[in-house]
């Protein structure tokens, strides 16, 4: 049913409908509305979950780890500093192959302290073995929770996932979101069937240490699972379309790419602005399109290459920076297109909540045509 709701509340509804047995979370701006709403649902009996109000994000994810190993579907949400505090547990969860789902309300990293949006927090966990989804709007953020659980609990995958959506820009925005019914979700998302669990009837040991004779093979298998996740997510997205009428059968979305000679590549809510900017540029006769990434891990190399086939140049907008190098998405796109002859330039934009407007998109499009890039865009030189 379509309702006007805040992004955080829509996500909370998606979590409720996903029926997690255990929720563990710690409040942090701008994630708070999600966990507050979930607490209300538990208090009102609308959601029958064990809700653990932990003393830190570190314990939030640790509690999810235990609950997942014991065989329950688990959920947490965090952002920025909270995610950084989970760093050690993130690697551990992925290594133990526990399909925990966590919402990330993307926010900049301190210092300086900033509660505003960029994607540095989740990007910094790119090597941890978590699948990373990036939503453009609140409908997609909502739907990705169902698709996410379905994909990660698939025994071909068994990896944790972050559903990332931009702090404030999406978390605190009211817009129409189609919230499905319980019956609809139950028909799509079956109960969690753990591959193995802590159980007195069948004792096993979880989390043993591996000597050099075994460690590399464990890491290889996680990477293989991540590769398989490509297909499983696409399949889960297609089947989502069959159930709900909204298709997510690809890890990338192409917008007005048919005859484009210049492509923009980005993730998250900025893509809405980019689409509007592209419409204006197109009306001026400029052949510009957008390829939006829906997942950053696994990185959809093949789909991206296909989507960018035939363009002359690519401008990547990165709401993060690998300091001392380039933006994390830019690096991936350069890698994917290596040897293709396509010019790929990277633009660091919108850090710490700096607005990215339509005119900025137009300016970046002009820059990439001139061959100028691999730079911070929109710096206020007067304060440097």
């Amino acid at each position: 049913m379509l309702k006007i709701t805040e992004g955080s509340f829509a996500v909370a509804d998606a979590v409720r409908l996903s029926r997690p047995g255990v929720i563990a979370a710690y409040p942090i701006t701008p994630q708070t509305h999600i966990v507050e709403r979930l607490a209300e649902m538990v208090a009102d009996g609308e959601l029958e979950s064990e809700y653990i109000t932990v003393e830190s994000e570190f314990s939030a994810l640790s509690a999810c780890l235990g609950a997942s190993a014991a065989g329950s579907r688990t959920y947490s949400a965090t952002t920025s500093q909270g995610l950084a505090l989970m760093y050690e547990v993130c690697f551990n969860v992925a290594g133990m192959r526990l399909p925990i789902l966590m919402t990330i309300a993307n926010r900049a990293m301190s210092a300086p302290l900033s509660i505003w949006n960029d994607q540095q927090d989740s990007i910094s966990l790119r090597d941890s073995g978590w699948i990373q989804f990036y939503a453009e709007d609140n409908q997609e953020a909502t739907d990705l929770h169902f698709i996410g659980y379905r994909a990660i609990e698939d025994h071909r995958v068994l990896l944790p996932a972050m559903v990332c959506f931009d702090g404030y820009i999406l978390t605190h925005t009211y817009e129409p979101v189609d919230i499905p019914t319980e019956e609809e979700v139950n028909g799509y998302l079956p109960p969690f069937k753990p591959y193995q669990r802590l159980d007195a009837a069948d004792p096993i040991s979880f989390g043993m240490y591996a000597t050099p004779e075994y460690y590399m093979e464990f890491r290889y298998e996680i990477d293989q699972a991540m590769q398989r996740a490509n297909e499983v997510i696409i399949q889960a997205g297609k089947e989502f379309g069959e159930h709900f009428g909204r298709e997510y059968g690809s890890l990338v979305e192409s917008y007005r790419m048919d005859d484009a000679d210049t492509a923009l590549v980005a993730m998250g809510s900025v893509c809405g602005t980019i689409k509007d900017a592209i419409d204006e540029l197109r009306s001026e006769g400029k052949k510009v399109g957008l390829v939006r990434l829906r997942t950053y891990r696994p990185f959809p190399t093949m789909e991206l290459k296909k989507a960018l086939d035939g363009v002359s140049r690519v401008a990547v907008l990165d709401r993060n920076i690998s300091l001392g190098s380039k933006g994390a998405v830019g690096l991936e796109v350069k890698d994917a297109l290596y040897g293709s002859g396509i010019v790929v330039l990277d633009y660091i934009v919108g850090l710490g909540g700096r607005d990215i407007r339509k005119k900025d998109i137009a300016a970046i499009t002009a820059l990439v045509v001139q061959g100028k890039g691999d730079m911070f865009y929109g710096l206020r030189t007067e304060v440097l």
Binding site: E50, I52, V54, S56, S59, A63, A70, S72, L198, A200
Partner: protein, 297 residues
């Protein structure tokens, strides 16, 4: 009562000869029984019992990280509750994981009142990484990060009072025990398991390698700690001391002199003032807990 004849901690693990924690693991599991889930922290016991693909644990067991065992246990307890299952959740963690790096998670889990038992095997230093001091290291013990030297007698601070800290969290049952008193140890663990809410048992587990004594002396050294009043075996219910193991006290010297970690108090020069300071600690314990058995002359 669970069947204590079962051996749930398999032999053939990689512990040192005379390892106190290995003895503790065997005794603990006898008391815990098969209807349980064990959560271990990173440390000696985790490492010597689970080199992939082998395990010494014949009950469900999980290890995540060094400092998060009680948070992991919180999640397991919540999941079991949600699923209507009956297994007891038991953390077994070393003193470093308990007194120091895991303090945040422990405090949170005890404050929230999860139904689980936390057993700390206390060998009074970071043994797995090579005998570095922890918040559980006793006064004057020489470790690799609190070495005795020309200007130092070793560890400068007395042991942190973890049982009192957890009692202050409102833990309904808190106890200390020693592997040298196996029946008492198992009874206390059983009591903790049968008390609803978060319970804590701190077990003195002498470490032959870290403390420096012959491997056949483990039980003897543990006994001396209790007999000198430097380790007190007691129980607390709802924050009040309810039971104390009384002793005919021996001088602390008898405990100190059998361990290399205190050797600098005797050689090359006997350090009377330091020994007196440690004796005063035992005397305070005796007064606080009413340790002394009155012997008729």
């Amino acid at each position: 009562m669970v069947d204590r004849s079962l051996e749930l901690f398999e032999c053939g693990h990689r512990a040192c000869a005379g390892c106190g924690p290995a003895i503790a693991a065997r005794l603990m599991l006898k008391a815990v029984g098969t209807n349980s889930i064990i959560v271990s922290s990173t440390g000696c016991m985790e490492v010597f019992s689970t080199p992939y693909p082998e395990t010494a644990w014949k009950v469900p067991w999980i290890h995540s990280l060094f400092e998060n065992a009680s948070a992991v246990a919180s999640g397991i307890e919540a999941a079991l509750k949600r699923q209507g299952r009956s297994e007891k959740v038991v953390v077994i963690a070393g003193d470093g994981a308990t007194f120091d790096i895991g303090m945040l998670c422990i405090s949170g889990a005890f404050e929230r009142g999860h139904d689980f038992t936390y057993i700390c095997y206390d060998n009074e230093a970071y043994m797995n990484t090579g005998i570095q001091r922890s918040g559980a290291t006793p006064y004057d013990a020489s470790t690799t990060t609190s070495p005795a030297g020309k200007r130092s007698f070793g560890n400068k601070r007395p042991k942190k009072d973890m049982p009192q800290i957890l009692a202050a969290h409102g833990a309904p049952y808190v106890a200390t025990a020693s592997i040298s008193y196996p029946a008492d140890l198992m009874q206390k663990i059983e009591r903790a398991l049968n008390t609803p809410g978060p319970c804590y048992v701190q077990v003195h587990t002498p470490c032959a390698t870290g403390w420096g004594f012959e491997s056949e002396q483990t039980m003897h050294v543990g006994k001396l700690a209790v007999e000198t009043g430097l380790w007190v075996n007691y129980e607390m219910m709802d924050g009040k001391v309810t039971k104390v193991k009384k002793v005919v006290r021996k001088p602390v010297e008898e405990y100190l002199k059998v361990q290399k970690r205190f050797r600098h108090l005797f050689k090359p020069v006997r350090q009377d003032a330091e020994i007196a300071t440690i004796q005063a600690q035992a005397d305070r314990n005796a007064e606080k807990f009413g340790l002394d058995i009155k012997v008729k002359k």
